[in-house]
């Protein structure tokens, strides 16, 4: 079976140690996409500009990715992702305030923030309270630069950092992300959660596409109706096909020192109402206060024991 690959993962490369951008040869990307059986993606990449040596024009790639992420933000706006996050993050911060008894400030770090829509939306609405500092982190310098520019243009109280979210000087209270988890394949997924468990963070809450049979069809319809860029349309559908199952996420997130939970698992909710759902990780002492703060919605949360029940 061919491996599903997103074009945006292949057309930029960064040295993990220095953070410097690396040249990407268009022919190599095309070959990789052809080997994965994705001729359409190969054609999209073939249309990208290069220099005389066949290296993708980094400025053109940056402009393209900013444009695709801008279109992508429209989907987040229409699917009210901000409200969906606050619905969980509000009670989570309430539980953290209650458990730690500290006045703050607390710090929310958005991992792989892209244009920082979530962070900027939270800063605009002040939905989590003034004691929560908002930070977006991404490896892509162009996206972070644009996120910074947008935040400054609207005078928002948040900041953006290029680099590794787990290497920040100031520790996060809660790590969040939207649409990032499916980029981690194999052992990298568990390593992603382990890094958070090893940090001083109290919790994490990562939203990703709910892996249902409807997801790829829904993604196709939505990206067709709402996005113009062929790259965005392509990657949107591939993302849905790459989405991790509830079981994979719960298993990977169950790392020492963390109680892994899943909100709105498959089978418990209408898939038309829940296009993205989060895997949550909390320090064990936080689970009870979180459930209390969620009230009736706590019934939508399941732990790894749900897997055992589901397979019984």
């Amino acid at each position: 079976m061919h491996q599903l690959v997103e074009i945006s993962d292949l057309i930029t490369a960064v040295d993990p140690h220095s953070g410097h951008r690396l040249p990407v040869r268009r022919a190599e990307v095309i070959q990789q996409l052809r080997e994965s059986g994705d001729e359409r993606a190969a054609r999209i990449v073939a249309g990208l500009p290069t220099d005389r040596d066949g290296v993708l024009d980094p400025h053109a790639v940056d402009r393209l990715l900013i444009s695709v992420h801008t279109e992508l933000q429209r989907l987040s706006e229409e699917l009210r992702i901000g409200e969906r996050l606050v619905h969980l993050l509000g009670p989570l911060f309430t539980a953290i305030r209650e458990t730690t008894g500290q006045p703050g400030p607390y710090r929310l770090v958005d991992v792989g923030c892209g244009l920082g829509y979530l962070v900027r939306w939270l800063a605009t609405t002040n939905a989590l309270g003034a004691d929560v500092e908002l930070v977006g982190v991404d490896l892509d310098a162009a996206l972070v630069g644009e996120a910074d520019r947008l935040a400054e243009a609207e005078g928002l109280n948040c900041r953006f950092v290029r680099g590794n979210a787990f290497g920040l000087r100031e520790a996060a209270t809660v790590y969040v992300s939207t649409g990032v988890l499916h980029h981690f394949r194999g052992p990298a997924l568990a390593e992603f959660f382990q890094a958070q468990a090893a940090s001083p963070a109290h919790a994490f809450c990562h939203f990703d596409i709910a892996a249902t049979r409807l997801a790829p069809v829904g993604a196709w319809v939505f990206h067709r109706a709402r996005m113009r860029n062929p790259l965005g349309r392509h990657d949107g559908v591939v993302s849905a096909r790459r989405a991790h199952s509830d079981e994979t996420l719960l298993r990977a997130a169950a790392v020492p020192g963390i109680r892994a939970l899943l909100y709105e698992p498959r089978g418990a909710v209408n898939p038309f109402c829940t296009t993205l759902r989060p895997v949550i990780g909390v320090r064990p002492q936080l689970e009870a206060p979180l459930r209390r703060a969620l009230g009736r919605d706590a019934r939508r949360i399941v732990g790894p024991e749900h897997l055992a029940e589901a397979t019984r």
């Binding site: 801008t70 429209r74 699917l79 009210r80 709402r226 109402c273």
Partner: protein
């Protein structure tokens, strides 16, 4: 009853929505009410201009007809047939929009996923159904001609506004 007024109203509402769609996805700011209003007005303006094409076609058909009363009757019948599928479509859109804005986020997602998203893709089909309705209701070739031009006009608003104002905007 002449179906011209409801048809023009539907066309203008659709043009305003097309203006919004042409702009949406090109501006990553959070607060953009003013820019959204401007896009809606641009859609409305372009739509009003483009909708002159079917209006002029209908006027031309009437003015050059030997039997103007009969042509008027045929166009009216065709217009009513054209209106019926579009009314059904517009009702579905309005209900989805109302659900999206009024209900909590889960129901809002539902309205978007099974309503507004697919309905956007179905616009050409709605136009095709309207043209068929015009013919089936006795509008004949003249109503089909006006309906096809009107359909093409409303479908052109979004690409025209996007190309004119938002093509290179991020």
């Amino acid at each position: 009853m002449t179906p011209a007024i409801p048809l023009i109203l539907l066309g203008l509402i659709d043009a305003a929505c097309s203006g919004f769609r042409a702009y949406a996805g090109s501006d990553a700011r959070i607060r953009k009410q003013r820019a959204t209003t401007r896009a809606v007005l641009r859609g409305l303006t372009v739509g009003a201009v483009l909708l002159l094409a079917p209006a002029l076609t209908a006027a031309l058909l009437l003015l050059t007809a030997r039997d103007q009363a009969r042509t008027y009757g045929t166009l009216t019948a065709g217009g009513l047939g054209y209106l019926l599928p579009l009314t059904a479509y517009a009702t579905a859109v309005l209900l989805s929009l109302a659900a999206y804005f009024v209900l909590p986020f889960r129901a809002g997602t539902l309205a978007m996923v099974i309503g507004l998203g697919p309905l956007t893709l179905l616009r050409p089909l709605a136009i095709a159904a309207a043209c068929l309705g015009a013919v089936l209701n006795g509008g004949g070739g003249s109503a089909l001609l006006v309906g096809t031009i009107a359909g093409a006009a409303v479908l052109c608003v979004e690409p025209a506004v996007h190309r004119r104002w938002y093509h290179h905007v991020q």
